[in-house]
């Protein structure tokens, strides 16, 4: 999309988004343009590595991004040019100005793990539980990380790409009962 270029790095076309992201880079101690950015249509994204994610989210909350619109993830197993297996997105909005940005991060096998945003936005509570349930990403610091949609005794994470659409795991906890056992 229409991104300008200044001093070797790309700028967001929306000045409000640009000022938030450059403020974020300053707070994280990254040189200007140090965080990977991209835009598509009206979505403006900035990539933050998992180690810096907690402080980045905390900074964004203090910078006025008070509404966590959405938090979810996808499994990129076999996706073209994917560097990491799981991609996680946080869609944030400033409710007084209407500015919206998307923070992207990632996680990898064998134990995908990210810091929880529970203390920053309480709205992340169930969204993190859903990501944990369906994709198996752990959120450290979440006080109650249980399965939410699948039954507690379920094994596996259905939205992973190596989990088939049908077959494995269906009704595994329904033990068939013979007539004389019942």
């Amino acid at each position: 999309m229409s991104e300008g270029t200044v001093a070797g790095h790309t700028l967001f076309s929306d000045p409000a988004v640009e000022s938030i992201v450059s403020g974020l880079e300053k707070a994280l101690g990254v040189p200007g343009g140090g965080l990977k950015r991209s835009s598509f249509r009206d979505n403006h994204r900035v990539w933050v590595e998992p180690a810096r994610l907690a402080s980045a989210l905390k900074h964004l909350r203090e910078a006025g991004m008070d509404l966590l619109i959405d938090l979810s993830a996808a499994d990129y197993l076999g996706y073209q040019d994917a560097e990491h297996r799981y991609g996680v997105w946080y869609i944030l909005e400033n409710t007084s100005t209407g500015t919206r940005i998307m923070v992207r991060s990632w996680a990898d096998d064998p134990s995908p793990c990210l810091p929880s945003a529970f203390d920053i936005w309480r709205g992340s509570d169930w969204m993190e539980r859903e990501v944990y349930d369906l994709l198996g990403i752990q959120f450290t610091g979440h006080p109650d990380l249980r399965r939410i949609l699948m039954p507690d005794e379920f094994a596996g994470h259905p939205l992973r790409k190596d989990y088939p659409l049908r077959g494995m795991g269906e009704r595994h906890h329904f033990v068939p009962l013979a007539r004389d056992e019942s």
Partner: protein, 407 residues
């Protein structure tokens, strides 16, 4: 060891108190309307702790979305919030069209606006009617349902189905509307204000209804934002946020309407906001039906993104090839390898879809941002400290649709 008096006489945790009574509310209960379960720890009649247990209706919609193409998946999104099906379809196809870069025709935009607002009325009528029903006011519910029936007929006339119309298509609609449909909408509009008045008169000064709603389940503005509430739930708490104004989509930038807000944030405020929003929707439909543009409903016939009409499929070789291209499993659309989130203001709140595309006709990942799911996570915060009878009032005011909650 120094003895700490405060620790010794402090109340034990909720789980450790043996005098408490645990009540399983649901999954089958008249006030939940659908299947959801609440575990309530009660001290007498007061709720000390509420633990929602959901997932009874989980049917893997998002997994299915990775295996159905952009037109097929519309039948699944229909069944998420089945109280306002076309609103889901509009949100889904708006994301797909944004991904593919399709501009809609003015007529299609306006028909979608009319349907979106009809769905808002449809959803709010059920929510307000059922909320009143749970609190003992049966008559208002019947007046509300009478009007919903007319909207179902409008759905049927346009698409052939009452409940799950699957009316939108990539870049257009299943088919154009006709004059008889416009007449049906006008007929509904003429009778609606009287029915709205009936419900208002039955409830707004009904003492039982007011006593059970006022001051119950208060959500402050700070907590509404902190806990990601959107739509009427947030607006009843004073958050002036409406995506139709904030990020106008379809034809909303040309339409004059007010964003309804309240300050109190209790069940009564949520009810009043919904009732007032119906009148705003009525204004929007009224304007839109009088200013309905002519022309085609499907855009970009040459762009080969939209299904051709029946006539061109049967009468021309180009139309036949075009239809073939969009229906063979190895053809169809070629979206950019990108990701996109767009959202609409659905009756329940912000309904957004996030598509991760790998360039194929099915999405790599479809994430739904379901307003019911997020609003139900507010429930323990709203219910704790209230009596067990208030559960029905709070559930009714949040408008939880379990099919969307569990997907």
């Amino acid at each position: 060891m120094p003895l700490k008096l405060a620790d010794a006489i402090a109340a034990p945790d909720v789980e450790e108190r043996e005098c408490l009574w645990t009540l399983n509310f649901g999954p089958q209960h008249p006030a939940t309307h659908t299947t959801l379960r609440l575990v309530l720890n009660l001290d007498g009649e007061v709720i000390l702790k509420a633990t929602p247990d959901i997932g009874f209706l989980h049917s893997g919609f998002e997994k299915l979305g990775e295996h159905l193409d952009f037109n097929q998946y519309v039948t699944i999104v229909d069944r998420m919030n089945y109280i306002s099906p076309v609103a889901n379809e509009i949100a889904w196809h708006q994301t797909v069209e944004s991904l593919l870069g399709i501009d809609l025709t003015p007529r299609c935009k306006m028909i979608r606006v009319i349907f979106a607002e009809l769905m808002r009325i449809h959803d709010h009528l059920l929510c307000c009617g059922a909320a009143a029903l749970d609190l003992g006011a049966f008559t208002a519910f019947l007046y509300a349902f009478n009007q919903r029936e007319l909207i179902n007929e409008i759905n049927e006339w346009a698409s052939g189905q009452r409940f799950h119309p699957s009316y939108t298509r990539v870049g257009g609609l299943q088919r154009d509307v006709d004059d008889a449909w416009i007449g049906k909408v006008r007929g509904f509009m003429d009778g609606f204000i009287a029915a709205h008045n009936d419900v208002t008169k039955l409830l707004n000064r009904n003492r039982i209804f007011l006593d059970r709603c006022r001051g119950v389940g208060v959500l402050t503005k700070e907590e509404a934002i902190n806990r990601s509430a959107t739509g009427p739930v947030a607006r009843a708490s004073g958050v002036q946020r409406d995506l139709r104004r904030l990020r106008p989509y379809l034809a909303y930038d040309a339409i004059d309407f007010d964003v309804v807000c309240a300050e109190e944030g209790d069940c009564l405020a949520r009810y009043l906001v919904r009732m007032e929003e119906m009148l705003e929707s009525w204004k929007i439909i009224h304007w839109a039906i009088e200013n309905l543009p002519g022309g085609p409903v499907n855009s970009e016939i040459d762009g080969r993104m939209v299904l051709p009409n029946q006539l061109s499929v049967y009468r021309s070789i180009e139309g036949l090839i075009h239809h073939f291209e969009l229906n063979m499993t190895n053809r169809k659309w070629k979206p950019p390898v990108e990701e996109l989130y767009t959202a609409t203001e659905s009756p329940n709140g912000e309904l957004g879809f996030h598509i991760v595309s790998d360039g194929g006709p099915c999405a790599w990942r479809v994430r739904t941002r379901p307003p019911s799911f997020i609003h139900f996570s507010l429930f323990p915060h709203l219910a704790e400290g209230h009596a067990v009878g208030d559960v029905a009032a709070i559930l009714g005011s949040l408008n939880i649709i379990a099919a969307e909650l569990d997907r």
